[in-house]
């Protein structure tokens, strides 16, 4: 197995706070890799460093052999690394169908294409693909609803659909089940395990251990900006350092 994403020696400080300290992480092709850790461990910071929202102080982020640091968000997307957001980042004023057509168009048109005289009606290929993707997520019935009017759970699923339709090489999922009811969570787990989603290389940031252990091939534990352990779910369960980190947090709470 080759490494699809390599994070080497990444540091990030905010003011005096070390959010990330010498983080090393390899994501292998085809795996589902979960990053867990107590609140404030730097999980989201790490994700943001990968997709160009933050620039690490030093270290390297290499994706498919290409250096990602300093690249624009839209170029990182086209390189094949796509992020699904924690709070649904959708287009509330657009319909569900349009929400899914937009990323499909991005895949086809690139970062910029001026085609003001082409009719949307003639975009049958994109249209069909979008409808099929919506169907995968059980959202096709609502295709002409405004995304902003949907429930939170539906918005999360829409986000996943928007990520999936771009056929990314690597999908970064930021707490895909946060705030979901139990049966929605289970449905999402099934969704992420099966079909096209199942085959995709994924990095998942998650609090819910049930989700993590249902999905992950490997797990990395982040605490106070350090990766303290990486391994299979079984290894992580029995790692004393991990227990300590989590118990420490529980005492705080």
């Amino acid at each position: 197995m080759s490494n699809i994403l390599e994070i080497k020696g990444v540091n990030k400080t905010f003011g005096g706070l070390h959010a990330l300290q010498d983080v090393n992480l390899q994501i292998e092709e085809g795996e589902t890799h979960a990053i867990i850790g107590p609140n404030g461990a730097g999980k989201s910071t790490l994700l943001n460093c990968c997709i160009g929202r933050l620039i690490p102080d030093n270290g390297s982020v290499t994706f498919n052999g290409k250096n990602m640091i300093g690249m624009e968000a839209h170029d990182i997307n086209h390189a094949g690394m796509v992020r699904v957001f924690q709070t649904p980042e959708i287009f509330p004023e657009l319909t569900l169908l349009e929400n899914v057509m937009i990323p499909a168009l991005a895949k086809r048109d690139g970062t910029f294409k001026f085609n003001p005289f082409k009719s949307l009606l003639k975009e049958t290929a994109i249209h069909e693909e979008a409808m099929a993707t919506l169907a995968d997520f059980n959202l096709d019935r609502f295709h002409d609803h405004h995304a902003g009017s949907m429930s939170r759970g539906d918005k999360r699923r829409l986000e996943l659909a928007m990520g999936l339709i771009q056929h990314p090489t690597l999908l970064l999922l930021d707490e895909p089940t946060a705030g979901m009811a139990r049966h929605d969570t289970n449905a999402t787990i099934d969704l992420l395990k099966s079909g096209k989603m199942g085959e995709m290389t994924k990095v998942i940031i998650e609090h819910d251990m049930h989700v993590v252990f249902s999905l992950a091939d490997r797990i990395s534990v982040l605490a106070r900006g350090h990766i303290i352990a990486t391994g299979t779910p079984e290894e992580i369960k029995n790692d004393p350092k991990v227990k300590e980190a989590y118990l420490g947090e529980q005492e705080d709470e």
Binding site: F91, E98, T111, F114
Partner: protein
């Protein structure tokens, strides 16, 4: 948006063209069927339709679009002076030159977003306005405004042996004079063309992407779009529309003055767009029509006419009503405009088009047909 697509472009354009070209007839009952006003409807309609491509689709509020209108006017008058009295080159040049200015101003202004963008466009427009009054007087003729003169070179015209010996030459379209109804029909033809382009843009992937930028620009970037060129293209297109409107204004009355570029003039096009309905296809056009019509009526009224209008009232009431309404007419038209502005933004931010939808829903509601599939489905889901 997909739902609207069912209606075919051809059908819409045929209806639209029919409505616009028959305007001299159906405006007769409201007393708006004279050429000057109809020309204004068409020209400001173009201006507003173009402005809507920027503001309506991307949500970027420019306070400087009047500058492009002014630039278009100056360019057209120069074309009349130097080249020919034919309006075709004048209008083409007006569109091109204002497009170039839009490229420069847009490139710089779009480096910022939100209110900073608005202030930058405002600053650029005010610069253009101030310069037109001062340093650029050789080009703009300062406060007097740029006018035609009998001894202008008119190179192309003189090549064809057209010599003006008596008075000022008139603008024309291959011989047809631009005054009166023919002026209106030329402007109307451009309006139909401009509306068609706008319709195409609204219903293209490009237009949908612009709407998505308005909805959530950050998401667009992470979805793989470079949003800057999209915004800049929209800015340039709307600048060219403004230039077209400016060129047409100069074609009908070959005089260009800097006051066309003042920021309050930019405010007016914003109002037209909002009044009709931002982001709707036909709204800005309605807005332009309503405002130009009201301007025409209100600014022409005076106290004695008001007295006549309210003569059916008892005398004491008549005096009160006349005195109050007198504040809003004649020179007070701007007061009415300001009040309209506030009322629309406060109570009907979606403009007339939102009002129409509300009324339609209300009527359909009475007859029990208002429940479209969407609400029914959501209710079904809840159960």
């Amino acid at each position: 948006m997909m739902k609207n697509l069912i209606k075919s472009n051809t059908v819409i354009m045929l209806i639209f063209a029919a409505v616009v070209l028959t305007a001299p007839m159906w405006t007769a009952p409201i007393g708006a069927n004279y050429p000057d006003l109809l020309q204004k409807f068409a020209i400001f309609g173009i201006f507003a339709v173009g402005y809507n491509i920027l503001f309506g689709l991307t949500g970027y509020l420019s306070f400087g679009h009047a500058a492009f209108l002014g630039i278009g006017s100056y360019t057209a008058v120069w074309s009349f002076k130097l080249l020919t009295m034919n309006v075709v080159p004048a209008i083409i040049l007006a569109v091109i030159v204002s497009g170039i200015f839009a490229l420069i101003i847009g490139y710089l202004s779009l480096r910022r977003s939100g209110i900073y963008f608005s202030i930058l466009t405002l600053a650029f427009a005010q610069m253009a306005y101030s310069l037109a009054y001062s340093v650029l007087t050789p080009i703009t003729n300062g406060e007097t405004g740029l006018q035609l003169e009998q001894q202008d070179p008119r190179i192309i015209d003189s090549m064809f042996g057209v010599v003006v010996t008596d008075g000022l030459p008139s603008t024309n379209l291959f011989g047809t004079l631009m005054s009166g109804y023919s002026g209106f029909y030329v402007a109307a033809a451009f309006l139909i063309f401009a509306f068609y382009i706008s319709l195409k843009i609204f219903r293209s992937p490009f237009g949908m992407k612009l709407l998505a930028i308005k909805s959530n620009q950050t998401r667009m970037k992470y979805t793989g779009f470079n949003t800057k060129p999209y915004l800049l293209t929209a800015f340039i297109i709307s600048g060219m529309y403004a230039g077209l409107a400016g060129g047409l204004l100069a074609s009908i009355d070959p005089l260009a003055g800097a006051e066309r570029m003042q920021w309050t003039a930019s405010g007016e096009v914003v109002l037209m767009t909002i009044m009709g309905g931002v982001g709707t296809l036909i709204g800005p056009l309605l807005g332009a029509g309503i405002i130009k019509y009201l301007e025409n009526i209100f600014s022409a009224l005076n106290k004695s006419e008001l007295t006549e209008i309210f003569s059916f009232m008892p005398e004491w009431l008549q005096t009160i009503v006349v005195n109050i309404s007198n504040v809003f007419v004649g020179e007070g038209w701007h007061l009415t405009l300001g009040a309209l502005f506030m009322l629309i933004v406060i109570f009907l931010p979606g403009g007339v088009m939102e009002g129409v939808t509300k009324i339609k829903d209300f009527i359909l509601g009475i007859f029990g047909k208002g429940e479209d599939n969407r609400t029914a489905e959501i209710e079904g889901e809840a159960k």
